[in-house]
Symmetry: C2
């Protein structure tokens, strides 16, 4: 029996796609080119995942685990000789514990489906991101997804209480903790969160829920300098407390381009150096309106902010978020290099002007558009390289090289995948990188799980 025949013994025919069938499907959410892989198998139970990995381990067959294919760093794209392990059939929400505020769910459940099922029971699963309609809980966990509510609720890691994981050799590991407190030995689940499927395959998760928050206050404000942006954040945190759920900053050049004549409606005048979209979320909090408006009025009086608009309808709120989120006016028809870095907020005022200067000297026609979740220390950079001799790798160096001295990081929320593997190898603390490789070697000795992702393949192996 060949390997493929053995694989076909594990799942029924409708859960198996051969090379030919795969070539009819797109490679990812972002790209329409055909999928190339040896085959794709879609287990419908943890036991099937275990059998598949046991077989692949035996044959030393490389496996790429796929969720919703919305990742940004080319982590889930298969090569022609890899087997795709899709968790799309592991799509059951198994149990909602309305007493404890937890949900037990299979890995292939779509984020938005989970959000909606919980909202019906008056609970909130607070991780939220643009890809909510396609991305899966398993993918969110494997990549430690961030998104727009991190300021208040933390990353995906902060929601995970327990996991079920299948190891490279097919061993099923039960780490299904349900409690906020469990110090019974090493917290092994942490190894599988954010390691992008390279150490094990997450098949099930127990997630912590939060009380529902279905009301928002949203404002778009302008500031004349970065110190004022920080001051506003500090006041908003202190006065709006936990209700502050988003604090998104757009540098002037970003806002101006987004609100150009063919772009979004300019809610505030263009030309200010900084724009902040801030938002609270709550549930019947008394006086929340008055408190939000009083904060902004006082900041305007004190000249911390120089212009402001408050959303008075969901439509107005949506228009503000559109300027922040829907960046076609910038990405439109240009080549764009995108970056997702993090650094302490106090160092941003130094970093961005310095990067702007570097680009001016080396690639004078390049344009830098900066925005991000600055309360999380997270900046997204869009660089339109313009007409230049400079290579993408040079831009990478200009962006990444100054970060170390500023306590920054090369990936805030998108992860490493294949796209940032070289940068990780270059900028990571050497002892830390060595330990990462040791863990990979120890937990996946044949290197079959998402090989050549996150960590560069070891050429001496």
């Amino acid at each position: 029996m060949t390997f493929i025949e053995a694989l076909q013994q594990i799942v029924p025919p409708h859960q198996f796609y051969d090379r030919q069938a795969l070539s009819q499907t797109a490679v990812s959410y972002w790209e329409s080119e055909p999928t190339t892989a040896r085959c794709k198998v879609c287990p419908s139970s943890t036991e099937q995942v275990s059998q598949i990995l046991k077989l692949c381990h035996h044959y030393g067959q490389a496996v790429v685990t796929q969720g919703g294919l919305t990742g940004c760093v080319q982590g889930a794209k298969a090569t022609a000789e890899e087997v795709i392990l899709s968790l799309e059939k592991l799509n059951q929400i198994e149990h909602i514990d309305t007493n404890a505020g937890t949900v037990t769910t299979q890995a292939g459940v779509i984020l938005e489906a989970l959000q909606q099922a919980l909202a019906e029971k008056q609970w909130l699963y607070p991780v939220d991101l643009g890809a909510r309609g396609s991305c899966t809980i398993g993918g969110n966990i494997a990549t430690n997804a961030g998104g727009i509510n991190v300021l208040r609720y933390g990353m995906t890691r902060d929601q995970v209480l327990g996991l079920e994981v299948v190891m490279a050799d097919g061993t099923i590991m039960n780490l299904q903790n349900h409690m906020l407190k469990n110090n019974s030995g090493y917290d092994l689940k942490q190894l599988f969160i954010g390691s992008e499927g390279t150490l094990g395959v997450v098949t099930k998760a127990v997630l912590k829920l939060s009380p529902i928050q279905d009301k928002h206050h949203t404002a778009l404000v302008a500031a004349n300098n970065f110190a004022a942006v920080i001051d506003l954040l500090k006041r908003a945190k202190a006065e709006l407390q936990d209700s502050l759920s988003a604090y998104e900053v757009m540098w002037g050049v970003y806002y101006d381009q987004q609100t150009q004549p063919k772009g979004h409606k300019p809610i505030l005048a263009s030309g200010y150096p900084y724009y902040v979209l801030l938002e609270t979320s709550h549930h019947n909090a008394p006086n929340a309106d008055a408190q939000f408006e009083a904060l902004l009025a006082d900041c305007y009086e004190q000249k911390t902010i120089v212009d402001a608009a408050i959303a008075h309808s969901e439509q107005q709120r949506r228009a503000m978020w559109d300027i922040r989120e829907n960046f076609e006016p910038i990405t439109g028809h240009h080549e764009i290099f995108t970056y997702d870095i993090s650094l302490p907020i106090g160092n941003m005022a130094q970093y961005i002007p310095s990067l702007t200067q570097t680009l001016k000297s080396n690639a004078p026609q390049a344009k830098l558009y900066t925005f991000g979740h600055i309360a999380d220390g997270n900046l997204h950079l869009f660089i339109n390289p313009g007409q230049t001799q400079a290579q993408r790798s040079e831009f990478d160096d200009w962006v990444y090289q100054p970060l170390a001295a500023l306590s920054g990081a090369i990936s805030a929320e998108h992860g490493i995948g294949t796209e940032k593997m070289a940068a990780l190898a270059h900028y990571c603390d050497p002892a830390a990188l060595a330990l990462m490789k040791t863990l990979k070697q120890t937990m996946d000795p044949k290197g079959i799980l998402n090989p050549a992702r996150v960590l560069c393949p070891n050429v001496t192996d």
Copy 2:
């Protein structure tokens, strides 16, 4: 040069204590017997920690890392042939970033000292526990300390942004992230949080801060059944939102014994099946008083609670907490077996009556006192065994054995140390236990870091 002579080359004389000097000091916070160890060394820099471990690694010398010695599971007590590595001289708060809300601190800083330094700058480090005046940040991290604010803020793990760690062979690993978001490779710091010093020595930490919360509303209420206790929790979470910072439940037998004539003043009448101490913390929240009182009034009207007292002064608040925290009326002059377990709140109503029945059948004179942070799934049990033939190990079995079927855990916040090592070996998922051992073997191949703690020594080695 002998090993001891080499060690004395690394630190100045006042940072070294020989066997004789050590015999003058108590072994822990809880026990007054003299310390027995080969020697104690107190490095004042990460570089010294590195040199000490390099030397110990070379000699295969076992090392026990010590913080404030307040642990409850005999994890930091040295044997006669171990070297004590005390981090008491690593006691500097290095940097408070008031923009980002982070603090960089050495591991030997006392929790209360850190809390106070931050309060002066209007920031809160939210981890809090009874041992605050003695326990250290390094110990908190090594044990993933929980405490009284977990419901709102999570455990110590949830506060840690970055670490500096010295590995078993002396390698210094820089994992000093400062941001909420950093997905640059595996999140290695998680390995050192809660692994009780068995995988590396934490020398420095970057911690996340929260806005200061210096006002409280506190109430003690009584309920007639456990369903009402859960209902009150759900309503308090939904209506008081994030401000709910403690929800401590005492079973009637605990409350009654605590408020016996020679014990604490009984704020509510004795005889109810359940007592709940609930508390909010906030900072100038408008209407917080009214909201808190309205919730309780409505719950009383609906008969969810059957009696209630609200603290109107710090003294009254303290009196309520004393009933919960100062358990001399129970522990007084009796032998007490203490347990720290966790299980989903919905399963507690089944677990405690069942355990009570088991004790009644097997050790009829034993008395069970139950209390805990039930919103965290955490129960503390005090068992006075009374006159019985039963051994401690039998009580352990009665407490631990039923937990697996109820999704429970043998240690909620105290960790494993040596005390629960056998229970972990018995009740842990076998695949998980095997991976824990593999990690220990991989990261500390000579087994010099806190040996024979957490994981049973492998007799086949």
